[in-house]
């Protein structure tokens, strides 16, 4: 198929999209642009509308309102068979009574290709997904991961302009999942096909996507690269949904401060009204452990107190393999405990133990201020 666009150009454009199921609004005013060759992940909790959005793009469940432009063409009301996409489902949806070869060839038939051309293409695809000699088997004879690769091969057989993946890895074992997500990403890069994947697994999204679309309750919360989303979550929902986040009730201060339990802390710049109730948030791995205090490299004997520092009690330590998870309490946090993830190295070096006091720092460029959830 001849494309009008080249890599980097706008390929898929969704404007003011709504989807209603009776009274329930599954998608509310969604607008999103996707570029040629991009790998996009729709990420969100179940029921957030991500699959609904994917199915609207495919034409499988038409949106109630709004337009979908694909490759410069308005496809808003077209049935799936008149759109240009390949799709892979969580269930693989391989035809059980057809061999692997016939499954892959299914979409190549009736397209003007000769039998030998089809055979060549099928062999090529089997090679591409790394299963060159499984062609004569039936789907049930393959493992879940292998079946998913065949489903992928079938979806890309006709060189569609858009590849849609609906939770393709959810039904697989953790190990296979990690392995296959690399392969899919690799394949996508090789083919340069614009890809939209739906997932509820943040790790998957962070590892695979060029850009992540975080969704909740039918609206887009944030669109950004994995690092943007992780480092600079747009709001408390995104901060909480992706990665782990300590949340402490606080009050907004100036543009770069917040007040936590009476102490003024430096934090990431925010635009919240001074004096408003806010949530102070910091990721467990961003908390810096200091033992009894910070030592400057210039004067190792002098113990200074770093900014945003707290003298906390380690109430509990949990060994999680590659790091220690510590529960830290301080009177300013109230009944809440802070969770800090410290490297094994740091724990050994500082001699941390449950029941002991320690000094921690909430680094200013890692401490964020958000509007509390009930107002958002």
């Amino acid at each position: 198929m001849l494309k009008k666009t080249s890599p980097g150009d706008l390929y898929l454009s969704i404007q003011d999209l709504w989807k209603a199921f009776g009274e329930f609004l599954a998608l509310r005013d969604i607008s999103l642009d996707i570029n040629e060759g991009e790998f996009i992940c729709f990420l969100g909790p179940s029921g957030c509308g991500k699959t609904t959005l994917l199915r609207a793009i495919a034409g499988l469940d038409l949106q109630t309102k709004g337009t979908v432009m694909q490759d410069g063409k308005d496809v808003s009301n077209l049935p799936p068979s008149e759109r240009d996409f390949g799709i892979v489902f969580q269930s693989y949806a391989l035809f059980p009574n057809l061999t692997i070869e016939k499954n892959i060839a299914f979409g190549l038939e009736n397209t003007g290709r000769s039998k030998s051309e089809i055979a060549v293409r099928v062999a090529e695809l089997l090679n591409l997904v790394g299963l060159p000699d499984q062609g004569s088997k039936y789907p049930a004879q393959l493992s879940g991961g292998q079946q998913q690769r065949i489903a992928l091969a079938r979806a890309i057989a006709t060189n569609p302009g858009l590849l849609l993946l609906d939770e393709p890895l959810s039904a697989l074992d953790a190990k296979v999942r990690v392995h296959l997500r690399h392969e899919i990403k690799e394949l996508q890069r090789k083919l340069g096909v614009t890809t939209v994947m739906v997932t509820h697994d943040q790790e998957e999204a962070l590892a695979m996507a060029d850009r992540i679309v975080v969704m909740n309750h039918g609206v887009i919360e944030q669109v950004g690269t994995p690092t943007e989303i992780y480092r600079h979550p747009a709001n408390l929902f995104v901060a909480d949904f992706i990665g782990e986040m300590n949340q402490l009730p606080a009050v907004a201060g100036d543009a770069e401060t917040l007040e936590l339990g009476g102490s003024i802390l430096k934090c990431e710049p925010h635009s919240l009204q001074k004096g408003n109730r806010i949530v102070a948030a910091v990721r467990p791995e961003d908390i810096i452990p200091h033992g009894e205090g910070a030592r400057s490299p210039d004067a190792p004997d002098v113990i200074t107190t770093p900014e945003n520092a707290f003298e906390v009690l380690i109430t509990e330590m949990e060994f999680l393999g590659s790091f220690w998870r510590c529960r830290l309490s301080h009177q300013t946090f109230g009944a809440r405990e802070l969770i800090g993830d410290f490297s094994i190295n740091a724990v050994r070096r500082l001699g941390l133990e449950a029941g002991e006091q320690m000094m921690i720092e909430l680094p200013r460029n890692r401490l964020m201020a958000f509007t509390p959830a009930e107002e958002g």
Binding site: A20, L62, T64, K65, P79, P80, A140, V219
Partner: protein, 669 residues
């Protein structure tokens, strides 16, 4: 920020229909239309027939008598007036059927067809009607007739709509009694069958006795014969010259006793299947919990087994009730003077040619049938919810004592079933019971008897094959369309409703409804009346529901995304249907076809009104030969049906195994 709490105004997206959507909707409409024409319209025709009343309106006629010279000078006489004066007809005689005719000479006591007196008659209203010989007279002009012609004048009734037929029905004890009889028989048979079937199923599912496979086979055997066959066996066993007549201590088998025993025989497999399924899905964890709580077996039985199977029991009870109350063949053969609803329909229609009353009885019969059907559906939908993926299948432990008791019990039930069939086979081979007990094949010379001879047997096979092939195609395709097409929600819901309806309609009612609808000369489909086509159509429609449900169950197990994948690959849905759906569902398709074949072979009720001399059927031949007193040939023909169905079953088994091993290779890992 824009408001995201409510849908903005403006036009909604209207999806463009793809070619596949159009094909599937079109197909669905065609099959829905088939159901409307073969089910809804006939039932409507029947319903309106039951409310049609016919009455001779005497006030619509005027008469005048001439003197001996043919001069009309006397008074003009009104019909009503004449009847009051002469008392010629009672009021009841004036209420009649659509074919009612009334002679007018009784109004004139001194009438003589040799007299020179002339008569004049006219309608007082333009649409009044009377016959002179076979010529219909309409209009209000006077017609002058000599007395010889006048005696050939017959008044015709006026059609009206009203509930008189029903009033008439319920005020006639002879008819109304049948309601009581039918319900009574159905309840007694239901209690006995469900009890017997429960313990039989319990033994097969919960004990470690031997010969389970054989018992399962025997339990299903009654499905293969027409319901009237046990009646014939009972006649031989307990009839006036029966082998075991003394066992009844003087009671007559012709009547409720015979109907109940025969009903237990032919409904047993249905109850057994349902209860067996319910017992098979019981969760072993509940029994482990019960035994760890030191519950006695008796208590476990009442707190775990029975509640687990309760929906199965209720469902079985309503299915059996429905089968018994709507059955026609058995009470026809063994019912004697004991009237039931289904036989009443037959008697009204075939015996008395009173179609309106036949329609009324049909409507009366449909009420309990629909009620039983509705409750059964409700209960079955709950049964599904009981299944859980985490259930652990129950494995019975061996207990020599209970196993032996169960084995004895099952052997007795099996003996009952096999015994009935054996008696029929025995009867068929005896030269002349009870006087000449030598064996012969004389009873198989069907061509020498009433009922259509061997031709009817081959007609039956042809009809059953056509029903199986055509029915399976229509039903499976229809189920596919309704399960897998997009959108079109109202249409699909309506279709589902139509597909469920046939199960609630007794065969007799459907057959009678077909007469009213297809035998109407103004119906363009009138041509199929009396042909093989109407028998096939009637059978397909009659057995539609169970087949449809089988197809839907199989289709629901297919991945819902196959159609989406196919559309994304730009392949026609019909290609997917042919290449994937049909091959994968082949086991279900074969099940549907054998179900249709066996039922078409054994059905009596649905086709008893519809066969013609050219299309007599084996099951009807059994009925007619029995009616004519040729009981032994009737038994012989009944057993022919049994052997044919058994052979079909075996063939089906072999064919399924062969086809499945080739087409279902993918199922094995």
């Amino acid at each position: 920020m824009t408001d995201t709490t409510s849908l903005p105004a403006g036009p909604l997206i209207k999806g463009k229909l793809s070619r596949d959507d159009l094909i599937m909707r079109g197909g669905m409409m065609v099959i829905a239309l088939y159901l409307v024409v073969t089910l809804a319209f006939p039932l409507w025709a029947m319903l309106s027939k039951s409310f049609s009343t016919y009455r001779i309106e005497l006030s619509q006629y005027e008469f005048q008598v001439s003197d001996d010279n043919g001069v009309f000078s006397g008074t003009i006489l009104n019909g009503t007036q004449l009847n009051t004066e002469t008392g010629a007809y009672t009021d009841q005689e004036l209420s009649t059927g659509s074919d009612g005719r009334l002679s007018v000479t009784p109004f004139f006591p001194d009438f003589s067809f040799r007299s020179p007196v002339m008569y004049r008659i006219r309608n007082t209203v333009p649409d009044g009607r009377f016959l002179i010989g076979s010529n219909l007279q309409k209009g209000t002009d006077w017609v002058v007739l000599d007395s010889n012609t006048f005696r050939r004048v017959q008044l015709r009734p006026v059609k009206a709509t009203g509930i008189e037929n029903f009033a008439n029905y319920f005020s006639t004890p002879a008819l109304f009694n049948s309601v009581k009889n039918s319900i009574w028989i159905a309840i007694v048979s239901t209690i006995i069958t469900v009890t017997l079937a429960f313990w039989f199923a319990y033994a097969l599912n919960r004990s470690c006795m031997r010969f389970k496979g054989m018992f399962r086979l025997v339990a299903m055997a009654p499905i293969l014969v027409p319901s009237l066959l046990p009646g014939i066996a009972l006649v031989y066993l307990f009839g006036n010259q029966g082998m075991l007549k003394e066992l009844l201590f003087g009671a007559s088998i012709y009547g409720p006793i015979g109907i109940v025993i025969g009903s237990v025989f032919f409904t047993f497999p249905h109850a057994f299947l349902i209860i067996s399924t319910a017992l098979a899905i019981s969760d072993a964890r509940l029994y482990e919990a019960a035994s760890s709580l030191r519950s006695t077996p008796w208590r476990t039985f009442w707190t775990v087994t029975i509640p687990g199977a309760r929906y199965g029991l209720i469902s079985a009870a309503f299915v059996v009730f429905n089968l018994v109350i709507t059955d026609f063949g058995l009470p026809k053969v063994i019912g004697g003077q004991f009237n039931v609803l289904a036989v009443d329909i037959y008697k009204q229609v075939i015996g008395q040619q009173n179609f309106e009353m036949g329609a009324v009885v049909s409507v009366v019969l449909v009420v309990p049938a629909i009620l039983a059907f509705a409750i059964d559906r409700l209960v079955q939908s709950k049964q599904v919810a009981l299944l859980s993926a985490r259930s652990v299948p129950y494995r019975p432990k061996s207990n020599p004592k209970t196993d032996r008791i169960m084995l004895i019990y099952c052997s007795m039930v099996a003996l009952f079933i096999v015994g009935m069939l054996a008696v029929c086979q025995f009867a068929a081979l005896i030269k002349f019971w009870p006087y000449d007990l030598s064996l012969s094949l004389n009873n198989y010379q069907f061509d020498k008897m009433d009922g259509g001879g061997w031709g009817s047997y081959f007609n039956s096979i042809k009809m059953a094959l056509l029903t199986a092939v055509i029915g399976t195609s229509i039903i499976f395709f229809g189920a596919y369309l309704v399960e897998k097409s997009n959108g079109f929600k109202t249409g699909r819901a309506l279709f589902q409703m139509f597909a469920m309806l046939p199960m609630a309609i007794p065969g007799m009612v459907l057959g009678l409804a077909y007469i009213f609808f297809f035998n109407n000369p103004s119906n363009p489909l009138n041509a199929i009346y009396g042909t093989m086509a109407i028998l096939v159509i009637c059978s397909v429609t009659h057995f539609y529901t169970v087949s449809h449900l089988t197809a839907v169950t199989a289709l629901k197990q297919m991945d819902t995304e196959f159609e989406s994948v196919s559309a994304s690959l730009k392949q026609p849905t019909m290609k997917l249907f042919a290449r994937v759906t049909v091959p994968v569902c082949l086991p279900a398709i074969l099940d549907i076809s054998i179900y249709l074949f066996v039922n078409a072979m054994t059905t009596v009720s649905a086709v008893v009104f519809l066969y013609s001399p050219k299309t007599t059927l084996a099951s009807i031949a059994v009925l007619n030969m029995d009616d004519a007193g040729d009981i032994a040939p009737a038994a012989a023909m009944g057993m022919m049906i049994f052997y044919t169905n058994a052979a079909a079953r075996i063939l089906h088994l072999i064919a399924s195994k062969g086809i499945l091993s080739r087409t279902q290779a993918w199922r094995s890992r």
